[in-house]
Structures are given as C-alpha cells and as structure tokens.
C-alpha cells in the first residue's frame, strides 16, 4: 500500500518568555516520523500538551515546521508554492474540535459551505443544488441552508463543518478531536457519519483524540504521543490487545470502562505525576520519571523507535 502522507523527523519549537534575552523553547513536536496510508484512519492519541494538535497543524501546513518534512503524494508540502499549494489545500483539510468557533457567525450555512468552492473557483453548476446535496450527505436538509451557525446545536454545527470540508472532495482530512465538545448521545452520530463518508469516498483520516475508546472505534492504526514524541505506533487492535510501551499500557488500563463488572476485575497500571513541562523535557526517555519500569539507562539514553513485530513500532528500552 502506498503512503499518502509521509512525515519525516518533523519538529516544531515555539519560543517562550524573554523577548530579547534568553530564548527558551517549547518543544511541542520533537522529531516525529510516521506515514498514513490511503484510505486508512490513523489515530493519534496522547494527553493534553503532548503535541498532537501541533502535529495536525503541521501536516496541513497551518504552521511552518522548525525542521523536517511532510510528503503528500510524494511532494514536500513545505516547498509548495502558488497553484501547487492551492491544490494541496483542496486535497487536505481539517475538522476542528470546537464547533462553536469554527464557523464564522456572520455567514449563513450556504455561504460557509460555498466558501471553499469560491476560493478554489470550482465549477459546481447550480450552487444551491450542490450545497443541498452536501447538506443531505451530512444529515441536514434544505431548511438549514440559509440559517446562521448560532441557531444550531453542537452536533449540527459539526455536521456543517464536515460539509464544508467535503465540498472540495478532499483526499485527506485531519479530525482534531471532532467529538470531544459534544455530548455522548451525539458523539456516536458524528463518528458514524465520519466512518460512512470514509467508506463512500475512500477518505484518509488522521484522527486525533485523547479519548482512547473513541480512537479504538475509529482507527485502523494508532500512534501514541508523549511530550512531542511518538512512543508507539501500530495496528489498532494490536495496540489495544497487546500494548508494549509502559505509557500505552498505563493509558489503556486507566480509561474508565463503561461496565462495572469489568471495572472491578481490571488491573490498573497507575502512573504517578503529570506530564512534565515541554520546555525542559527530562533527559533520556521522556517518560522515565513516571515509568514504573524505569532503569538507569532510561534516564540517560533516549530509546529509538524500533519495529518490535511487523508494523508495530515502540520506543522503549524494555524491547531492545
């Protein structure tokens, strides 16, 4: 299977504090490599501040990287200019977490969905018919066409955001926590809609979430991030059934399970403390201060991402 997107040693540092004097850097993303295959969903999980949203923005060139490259259909997106860049923007897009600020409150649904068409000057025939088709596709109808975003619930707004992205018939969509601002009863609607659309149009997704249950439901493969690094990546079922990295194991064991019997039986792998500050990440393996299995080596040397079994990579000294 060809990789639609290839990420190579991507880095993004943000400057903080003292303007003129000492420059400190938040290493939001610090040397990340992975690929996303056509038609699959790659789940990207991690706790807040681990760099998953920054990665998403880098992948769409909404930020310029400090280092590294992203190949989309074989071309480095940071080198694209003019028409090529525009073409990339047509093919790759994003659905954001917060449906309340992702739609311009001054525009009608019709204008919101037509905007990408206008920007890219695509001929779609009768615009109203085109928008209507998209509205049906995301589960809305003609009565919603000329309304303003504030008249919609969170779930409906997310549908509008999806329709806006679909308008360009993209190949790749980043889903940045698309349901974490929604209620559980609506979450399932949106997740299923996204799955159906993927099948219908052979879409490729990068699905970002901190909710492991949702990630498992959505993804084919999963990458786990910790403090700007990928610590484990592999097939979704394999990650959940036999996780390797202590961090992944802990995360999976700690998610509250909606089943009291299982909850009582389950063994938890507690980890102490909270993710440290990405300004001064710990030396060696970044997880070592919280890792129950940490050895001396972990404090000094940084483990590389190695292929433990086929397609299952892990960055941990336990496995080398």
């Amino acid at each position: 299977m060809p990789a639609l997107i290839q990420v190579e040693n991507l880095k993004k540092y943000f400057p903080v504090g003292g303007k003129l004097l000492v420059k400190q850097w938040v290493k939001a993303v610090d040397g990340v490599s992975f690929e996303i295959y056509e038609g699959e969903t790659l789940g990207l999980v991690g706790e807040s501040g681990c760099g998953k949203s920054t990665t998403a923005r880098l992948l769409l060139r909404l930020e310029e990287p400090t280092d590294g490259k992203v190949l989309f259909e074989g071309k480095n997106i940071y080198k694209l200019r003019g028409r090529e860049l525009k073409e990339f923007r047509r093919k790759a897009n994003i659905v954001f977490q917060d449906p309340y600020t992702s739609l311009d409150p001054r525009m009608t649904v019709f204008d919101i969905i037509m905007e990408p068409i206008r920007v890219h000057k695509i001929d779609v025939g009768d615009p109203e018919q085109y928008v209507l088709k998209l509205l049906y596709e995301v589960g809305l109808n003609e009565s919603h066409m000329y309304r303003y975003p504030h008249e919609f619930s969170g779930g409906q707004r997310q549908r509008i955001a999806i329709a806006r992205v679909l308008a360009l018939r993209p190949k790749f969509i980043v889903l940045d926590e698309p349901t974490s601002a929604l209620d559980v009863s609506v979450q399932a609607q949106i997740l299923n809609l996204l799955k159906d659309l993927q099948k219908k149009y052979n879409l490729t997704y990068l699905f970002i979430s901190h909710n492991l249950a949702v990630v498992r439901y959505m993804s084919h493969r999963i990458a786990v991030m910790y403090l700007g690094k990928i610590v484990e990546i592999g097939d979704a079922e394999e990650i959940f059934e036999s996780p390797l990295h202590p961090y992944t194991r802990a995360l999976i064991s700690l998610i509250p399970v909606p089943d009291p019997f299982q909850a009582r039986k389950r063994k938890k792998l507690m980890i102490q403390g909270e993710p440290p500050n990405p300004i001064n990440p710990p030396p060696g393996c970044r997880f070592h201060p919280r890792c129950p299995f940490a050895k001396d080596r972990c404090k000094k040397e940084e483990p590389k991402l190695i292929e433990y079994s086929k397609g299952h990579y892990v960055a941990c000294w336990l496995y080398s």
Partner: protein, 358 residues
Amino acid sequence: MPGHPLDRLSDAFISLIARVMTRVNPKWLERNRYKLEEWRLMLYALNRSPTGIAGLILAMGFVFIGIFGPYIAPHSYDFSYIAATGKYKLYWLAPPGTGGAILGTDDLGRDLLSQLLYGARISLVVVALVLPVGISIGVILGLLAGYYGGAVDEAIMRVTDIFLAFPGLILALALTSALTMRIAYAIANNPWLTSFVSAVFALKPSDALNIAPTLAIIVALWLVWWPGYARLVRGMTLQQKGNVFVMAAQALGMSSREIMFKHILPNILGPLLVFMTLDVGNVILVEAGLSFLMGGQIKIPEWGAIVQHGSQYLVNGAWWLLIFPGLAILLAVLGWNLFGDALRDILDPRTRRSIEFR
C-alpha cells in the same frame, strides 16, 4: 411582544426593505429570512431601551439641524439686531425672548439661536470629514498589526504608542496653528475652493477664509484619531484570530487579505460600529474644545467658540450665552453616546436577548 407601537413601525420598516429587495432579486427573501429576523429583533430591542430611543432622537435631531439648520434659522449667523434696528440698548446682551431673539443676543446684538443653528452645520461637517478618514487609517493599520503580528505589529504599534503618549489636544492644537495659514492661502488662491467651502459650511463666501482654522482642525484630527482605532482594532483582530474559523479559512487556502476583510472585519464591525457612534460625540466635543482654546472673536459660529465668547460676559450676567451653546453641544454629544450605548447592548447577542424580552 405585541402592542408596542414602535414595534409595528419597525415591522413596517422591515417588510418595506423585504419588498424592495424582493423586487430586485426574487430569491432575496428566502436567503435573508434569518438576517431580517435578526434586524427585526434588534429593532425590537432598541424599542425597549428608552435611553436608546432618546439617544436616537437626539442624534437624528443633530443630523437634521446640521443639514437644515441654516435654512430654518430666523436670521443669518452674522445678522445683528443692533445693526438692523439701531436699538443698541435693547439688543446689547439681550436676554432670551427680547424682541424676536428667542435665545437672546450677544455683545454685538447677534441672534444666538441663528448662530447655534448654523453652528450645527459646522459640527456635522467636521464629524463627517474626520471620522471616515481617521477610522479607515486606524482600521487598516490595526488589522495589519493584529493579523500579521511580529515585526509589522511592532512597527505599527510603536508609532501608535508615540501618538498615544502625545496629549491629543496639544497635538491637534499645534497642528491646527501650523496648518491654518497654509489652508487660508489655499482658499484665498482658489476661487472654486472658496465657493465650495462656503457652500458646505453654509457660510458667506466672504467668510470662507475664516473657516481655515476649522479645516486645519479637521486635518489635525485625522492624525489624532487613528491611533485609538489602530489599537482597538488590533486587539479585536487578535481576539478574532484566535477563533478557529480563521484557521479553517487558512486551511481552505484563503489569502490573508481575504481572511482579514471577509472574516475578521465583518466580525469586529459590530463593536466597531458602537465605537464609531460614540466617537461622533467625541469629535463634536474635541472640535468644540479646540475652537474654545483658539478663542478670539467669533467670525464663524462654532459652538466651542460661542461658549468661549459667551464666558467673557458672565460678569454681565449673560448666562444664556454660556448655557445655550453648552447645552447644544451636550445634547448632540449625549444623543450619540446614549444611542451608541444602547447599540452596544443591541449588537451583543447576549445582552440583546435580555432587552428583547423585558
């Protein structure tokens, strides 16, 4: 909320707009139904704000008198009862109501009411010339600074800071005194300018030269007015930039210019409109303050100058020369401020709801 007579007026107004627009484009109504509803609700909200209505009436009154004042004035601004009737004793500082002078006369026997009505025109023209220019400069610079950030922001805000650190009144006064002579030359040397200026300000062509200080004030206020807007718009732009829809527009491949003018500007227009409304009053006030400071004899009937002139006759007990021109300024400014304040509540959807259903 049925029964409110103003609401019925608002409904009639809205449906008039709808009918006219539908005549132009048959689909207009369907596409803008929710916008119309929004406008209707805004009008309803305004109807429920007595101070807002009072402000609107005062503000519109100011505009009306500014336009038609010179035509409804009983006399010309330089008409003197003393010169016309020769009754020096009667018309020297005549109190209100004296023989035809409704608001009294000044030391030259000039009719105060007529002067105030002509003065409204001058204030209105100053507002109409100062605000659009000052605001445009400020809005554009503020948008650029807020959107691009970094060096652009730093450069623009440094200059803005310099202007803000400067006492505005002094800056304007200095500029005014620096520019007056040049503008006077320009007017004296261009006959068409003379007739144009005197027509706009409703003055006699022989007085066109005397408007030079006022024109200088206008130019000075352009320079004084933009920094406030630059800072304001920069702040609002930064706030809007934090909205995800701006990033969504970037992801769609929109250019920065398009994002600034299609997404950011429309979203800050509401608060901006409020500030502009409030600033109408401020321009009137600052202009009056400047013409007050410039002082001297009143050759043209500027409100501030009339107050300054009148203050010299307080010793003679001529309170009307102080009270009435001051009230004229106060009411005009208060009108715009009341209206602007109500507008702030009406344009903010959260507070609007609470007015609507009161």
